[in-house]
């Protein structure tokens, strides 16, 4: 087993242990930490296109919001008429039995992921033809447009939103359910990207990031990789949105489902802070960012946006490679960037002396 693999396993073990202990020791912080897992999920999925593939999306909240809405529609439509339900602005109370509720929820989460994925597959070939800042602006515009379209669509409650089905169990218990679901989804997403980055697919993503024209000149099917990567990140983000919608209890297009100015920017800032294009950077960035965010909201109220803005500015101006990127520059050998010395490193059977000049 390589040392990198051992380290990965230790970090996973540590995070899982932290995830189990926190709600037991500090039950009051459960929902904050649940949101932290959501932030991890967002940073990790954003980094798939932004960090590993060089496509900086400012509109990934589209997938978050679509997953949320798709899940809501599925959950409600199984036992009530969606149009009537949304038209009553929450006044229509539907009593869900536990079985009904959890069937709807599970199906809703999966459908949320699938709808987000389908949307990415649909718009990917067009959007991913844009490069650099054009892609960033294009995705931002798309996110705003999708939010506006949903805000004008009466079937899903338009701008008034949807009151989500009420959790049927004991009061307070639901927080732990959202905590577990978000934590597990974040973990699954990270295990997925860890596997993906170790494959030929992962190298192709990096090649596209470093020089897309060269990748094409070498015969790599760039569009296929770009669209599939975005679709995979959409799948996990869609599921995250579905869970978060239920956790919020009430969803509406601008602040909850498509928050381009908060979550939409946070996911970029978190990946940059930890080190974009690295396996653990987005996780580290998300955890630190969330801690700072919660601390400033508690102790610096009134100045919290200034503090967050300052962090982002310092990060981008002085510290672009992020924490792990900086560590890699400082201790390259620890990341396997070494020069071999001496003839014993030559592959066996090589007898060409001129080859080593």
């Amino acid at each position: 087993m390589t040392s990198a693999r051992k380290l990965d396993l230790k970090v996973y073990a540590g995070l899982i242990l932290f995830g189990i202990i926190t709600p037991i020791l500090f039950p009051n912080y459960t929902s904050q930490v649940a949101v932290m897992w959501l932030m991890v999920l967002m940073a990790v999925t954003w980094d798939m296109t932004g960090g590993q593939m060089g496509y900086n999306s400012l509109g990934n909240v589209i997938f978050f919001g679509l997953g949320m809405y798709a899940s809501a529609v599925v959950q409600i439509s199984m036992f009530a008429d969606v149009a009537k339900y949304t038209a009553s602005f929450g006044a229509m109370y539907v009593e869900f039995t536990e079985v009904q509720y959890f069937t709807g929820l599970s199906l809703g989460i999966v459908v949320g992921g699938i709808v987000a994925t389908l949307f990415a597959l649909l718009i990917g070939p067009f959007m991913l033809g844009l490069r650099g800042p054009y892609f960033a602006i294009g995705t931002l515009g798309l996110a705003v447009a999708v939010a506006e379209l949903i805000a004008g669509w009466g079937y899903v409650g338009a701008g008034s939103g949807i009151s989500m089905p009420v959790y049927p169990g004991v009061a307070g218990e639901s927080t732990f359910v959202w905590y577990i679901l978000l934590g597990v989804t974040a973990l699954l997403a990270h295990l997925f990207v860890r596997w993906l980055y170790s494959t030929q697919f992962g190298l192709a993503m990096n090649a596209i990031r470093d020089d897309e024209d060269k990748a094409e000149a070498m015969g790599i099917r760039t569009t296929r990789y770009k669209v599939l990567t975005w679709a995979a990140s959409a799948f996990f983000l869609g599921m995250g949105g579905a869970i978060f919608g239920n956790m919020s209890g009430f969803i509406e297009p601008l602040e909850v489902a498509f928050p381009t100015a908060t979550f939409g920017i946070f996911m970029v800032a978190m990946a940059l802070l930890g080190g974009k294009g690295t396996l653990w950077g987005p996780v580290l960035g998300a955890i630190l960012f969330h801690i700072v965010k919660e601390a400033t909201w508690t102790y610096l109220l009134g100045w919290q946006w200034v503090a967050l803005g300052a962090i982002i500015i310092i990060n981008i101006v002085y510290f672009q490679q992020g924490i792990l990127g900086w560590a890699q520059d400082k201790w390259p050998a620890a990341f396997g960037l070494t020069v071999d010395r001496g003839p014993e490193d030559q592959p066996t059977g090589d007898t060409r002396p001129e080859a080593a000049e």
Binding site: S198, T199, Q200, F201, G202, L203, A204, N206, A207, R209, D210, D211, D213, K214, A215, E216, A217, M218, G219, I220, R221, T222, R224, Y225, G277, G336, L337, T338, V339, D340, R341, D345, Q346, P347, D350, R352, E354, A355, A356, E357
Partner: protein, 251 residues
């Protein structure tokens, strides 16, 4: 396949950028398994011709065939997957990846199936092949370094090794020795010849260094002001008054 048929046949190709005629009615045949050269003063249209062949831009008129197949309407990655690769005058490698990763992702995508793209990158056989080729160009000891940190000459060698990793049938090299330290040039000529002989790769080379191209190529074409001036053996070209005039500016 008919052996008298050239591997690449460029027939009366013209290409203009607005009012500038970069290539005018050019015909060149690149035979199988040989080394063919392309020379000409700066701005004579050599790189434009390369770009036309590998599909960077559409041509205005004429035809380009690769092993008998018309390729002038195909796109860059499609042509690359047919087995025709080019290297760039301004070296292009994947600068944030290490040398071995640069090599591994350069394998041929010709017969790649959908499931093949999810295969582990650290496949022992591919890695070994990558290491052998890095050794071939003298970069084995630097294989774990980020490629963007290598010197320009080393990056050029890496780009060449990446092209070999792809196992192309034809390699179009745009000034392979430009910017390379003179003592390394001999080693590079040797490797180009060996790639041609041992791996059976047809080479089509743009080169400004006359010593290099005269040593390397069996047949050379010379362009000037977008037109084909002469085609012949190195000896014939060296004694061709039109070629000498083009280089010395006797127009």
């Amino acid at each position: 396949m008919n052996s008298s048929q050239p591997q690449i046949e460029v027939k009366s190709v013209s290409k203009s950028y607005g009012g500038v005629v970069a290539n005018k009615d050019i015909s060149i045949r690149v035979p199988h398994g040989r080394i063919t050269g392309l020379i000409g003063p700066n701005g004579s249209g050599k790189t434009t011709l390369f770009n036309s062949i590998v599909g960077y831009h559409p041509i205005d008129s004429g035809s380009i065939t690769f092993e008998g197949q018309e390729i002038s309407t195909l796109r860059v990655p499609d042509i690359a997957r047919l087995g025709m690769l080019r290297t760039f005058q301004q070296t292009r490698i994947y600068k944030k990846m290490n040398c071995v990763q640069n090599m591994i992702i350069s394998v041929s995508h010709r017969d790649e199936g959908f499931s093949g793209i999810f295969k582990q990158a650290k496949d022992r056989e591919t890695e070994q092949q990558a290491e052998e080729l890095l050794n071939f160009v003298g970069l084995y000891q630097k294989r774990n370094l980020i490629s963007g940190d290598l010197s320009f000459g080393q990056q050029k060698l890496l780009e060449f090794a990446m092209a070999l990793m792809n196992k192309p049938k034809v390699l179009l090299l745009d000034e392979p020795t430009a910017g390379i330290n003179p003592t390394l040039i001999n080693g590079l000529i040797d490797r180009l010849k060996r790639a041609n002989e041992e791996f059976g790769i047809t080479l089509f080379v743009i080169e400004h260094n006359m010593r290099v191209i005269m040593n390397l190529a069996e047949e050379i074409s010379c362009l000037s002001h977008g037109e084909l001036l002469a085609t012949g053996s190195p000896d014939e070209l060296q004694n061709d008054q039109r070629v000498i005039d083009a280089y010395l500016g006797a127009h």
